[in-house]
């Protein structure tokens, strides 16, 4: 592991039992030729048992790296994990535990589904073997039972005649089928947490809906928790309870899915929602967030979204906003924006109104229905 970690970080206390996954101040940086890229920069969130949470963000926002860091799948180096970062899973700190112990958790208690079902399956092993080897390893069962369980999990994900399918190789299946195999593989050991990293991005649009529906049904049936990583806010509403919005390695907003979708607080979230295509927008120009995600070598000095933010003012260039509680006390809404600080009070109402207006226009409603 890294030099940073060898200094045996003093761990905090474990989270309460109801919390399955607790990510605390996760920092994942990459050492590259020209310096250090802070891909994930102080991210904290938690998921309760059986709960569902989505991390949303553009390419390069650090959402996939967050998932890979939890799974400890990044090569160290070039990755550097913060010494004070902690990930608690099922009452144990997993980010700094010996890799041998982590291997016993991977694939058994936490399973991951990747974006590319074609390249993520081994082309020279039959799918039956790819599922069964995991079952044999974690559940300590013999060949026969491992095979039966593999067939069972293939059946669960809706693959017809699984007894025959287990002898097939990945190239003999369609993209949607392969992703079902990936899901079956992830489910085979009945994990407590399922991490799905853009599970539908590489698939046809018609298959995307089927796979998402399958994930949802399975999550409800097995009661496992789900961490869904996506760039598509559109799919989030139907899939999860909670949302974390990431931008340039940081969380900019988080809360329950209803709150975030209906009353976004961070201008970035507002922009994302405004850019979702709807039937009413057909033919009209899609609203987009202007500019691109900043280069990780040259992040804006204060607020990282400031150069692209339609509501930014002097303060946003000088002081970095904190992720702070918005809404009433007792609410779990967090947002990272000066609009919700004392200095933004005068601008807050206008910004929110502007967003509501844009969303209404998107739904084909008049500017002022009254």
């Amino acid at each position: 592991m890294t030099e940073l970690l060898s200094a045996e970080a003093p761990f905090g206390t474990p989270p309460p039992r109801e919390t399955l996954l607790d990510v605390r101040n996760m920092k994942t940086h990459f050492k590259v030729l020209d310096g250090i890229v802070p891909a994930v920069d102080g991210v904290s969130f938690s998921i309760g048992r059986g709960q569902t949470l989505a991390i949303v963000g553009e390419s390069g926002s650090g959402k996939s790296v967050t998932a890979l860091t939890i799974m400890r799948l990044l090569d160290i180096p070039p990755a550097i994990i913060g010494a004070d970062s902690e990930v608690w899973f099922d009452g144990k700190e997993i980010l700094h535990m010996p890799i041998d112990q982590m291997r016993k958790i991977r694939g058994k208690d936490v399973a991951m589904i990747f974006q590319e079902p074609l390249t993520s399956l081994n082309p020279v092993l039959s799918i039956g073997e790819q599922i069964a080897e995991q079952v044999r390893l974690h559940l300590k069962v013999g060949n026969r039972e491992a095979r039966d369980r593999s067939i069972e999990s293939l059946r669960t994900v809706g693959i017809p005649s699984p007894e025959k399918r287990i002898q097939q190789y990945p190239h003999e299946m369609s993209g949607g089928m392969r992703q079902r195999v990936m899901i079956a593989m992830a489910l085979s050991c009945e994990p407590k947490l399922l991490i799905a990293d853009e599970p539908t991005t590489a698939l046809d649009v018609t298959i995307q809906a089927q796979i998402l529906e399958l994930l949802k049904v399975i999550q409800q049936k097995t009661g496992s928790a789900l961490l869904l990583i996506t760039h598509d806010l559109g799919v989030v509403a139907e899939m999860v309870d909670h949302v974390v919005v990431m931008y340039a390695g940081q969380i900019v907003e988080q809360g329950s899915v209803n709150d975030v979708m209906i009353e976004p607080r961070a201008p970035y979230t507002m922009g994302l929602l405004e850019s979702i295509p709807t039937a009413e927008k057909r033919g009209a120009r899609l609203s987009v967030i202007k500019g691109v995600v900043p280069s990780p070598f040259h992040l804006p000095p204060a607020c990282r979204f400031e150069p692209r933010c339609p509501y930014a003012w002097d303060l946003c260039r000088e002081v970095a906003p904190e992720l702070s509680r918005v809404g009433g006390s007792g609410s779990d809404r967090l947002a990272r924006c000066h609009l919700h600080g004392p200095e933004g009070e005068s601008r807050r109402a206008a910004a929110l109104e502007n967003h509501v207006g844009a969303m209404r226009a998107g739904r084909g409603l008049k500017e002022n229905p009254a």
Binding site: F30, V32, L33, D34, V37, A39, S59, G60, S64, V65, L68, L74, P78, A79, S295, P296, F297, H298
Partner: protein
């Protein structure tokens, strides 16, 4: 998006930003360079290739100039101050030592051998490349039945254990002349080039610029030499470097077994062949230096080949 892609994208963005800051118009800067200038730029960045080039340059210089200072004549037998049958190990007078028997200076032999060995390596490569290019070009451009026949001949030639055949050919036709060895190696070393040229022709023949040339009535010969061949040169150059290395080792092999160049002419293989009979005397310096010369040459050619491969591959970035 994977993490490596993220970091790669970030690095690219940063490169462009820095170039812009420095006032360089990086895009226009690239366009104004020709294909060969670009390749040279990339080749220059390849440290091993530059070392290889320097090594080959030095070897060619030694081969050309060396024999003037250290002339060798088979009939001139050195008369050493002290007769030692097994020869003498390296000393200040004889840096590479002296051979057994006639007690010749090994350095002198190696320097004169460089001339023959390099000459054979390079000139047989040229013959092979010319034959291979012609066969490949005809097969790829004409296609059809002729292509089929030529490619079957290539298949047959590639299935023969070539060094066996070369051995037999040098013994049966050879009279120990350097030229004959060059021709034999040339005649048995064109198959790889012809396959390569043919595949290049097949793909380039269908490209738009050749179609356009044909549409305006350009003659076949001109299309082949002016339009297609220049595009096929880069892979040929890379294969040619490998052929040089192979032929230098091959010549040494044939001469070592006694079927190559006349034993009175020093080549690296001949020196080794003579050394073999003296093994029980333990005069290691005799076979060692010609062997090291072969290794250094082949190493240099391989380095250059690696550099060329990287420099001429349009997909690789500087």
């Amino acid at each position: 998006m994977s993490d490596t892609e993220t970091t790669q994208a970030a690095i690219d963005a940063e490169r462009i930003r820095r170039a812009e800051e420095a006032g360089e118009d990086y895009e226009i800067g690239l366009v104004s360079l020709s294909q060969w200038q670009l390749a040279w730029r990339k080749f220059r960045g390849h440290r091993l290739a530059l070392i290889g080039l320097a090594m080959i340059g030095a070897l060619v210089l030694i081969a050309v100039v060396g024999p003037i200072f250290l002339p060798y004549d088979f009939a001139t037998i050195p008369i050493p101050d002290k007769i030692v049958y097994q020869g003498r190990p390296p000393s200040l007078d004889h840096l590479f030592g002296e051979t057994g028997g006639l007690q010749r200076d090994v350095l002198r032999l190696v320097v004169n051998g460089a001339r023959t060995s390099l000459f054979i390596g390079f000139s047989s490569m040229f013959i092979g490349v010319i034959i291979g290019t012609i066969v490949g070009a005809v097969a790829g451009y004409v296609g059809g039945f002729l292509d089929n026949v030529l490619m079957r001949i290539v298949d047959v030639m590639l299935s023969l254990p070539l060094l066996f055949v070369i051995l037999v050919a040098s013994r049966f036709f050879g009279n120990g002349s350097v030229l004959l060895i060059v021709i034999i190696f040339g005649l048995f070393g064109w198959m790889g080039v012809s396959r390569l040229v043919r595949s290049q022709f097949l793909s380039i023949r269908e490209s738009e610029f050749v179609e356009a040339a044909r549409a305006v009535g350009v003659r076949d010969r001109r299309i082949i030499f002016r339009h297609i061949l220049p595009n096929a040169i880069s892979p040929i150059v890379v294969v040619a470097s490998l052929i040089v290395a192979g032929n230098i080792i091959g010549e040494a092999f044939v001469s070592f077994l006694g079927f190559g160049v006349n034993p009175t002419t020093p080549t690296w293989g001949n020196i080794l062949s003579n050394a073999l009979t003296f093994i029980p005397l333990g005069n290691w310096w005799w076979p060692m230096f010609p062997g090291v010369a072969i290794i250094v040459t082949v190493l240099a050619v391989n380095f250059i080949g690696d550099g060329l491969r990287d420099a001429l591959d349009p997909r690789s970035r500087a």
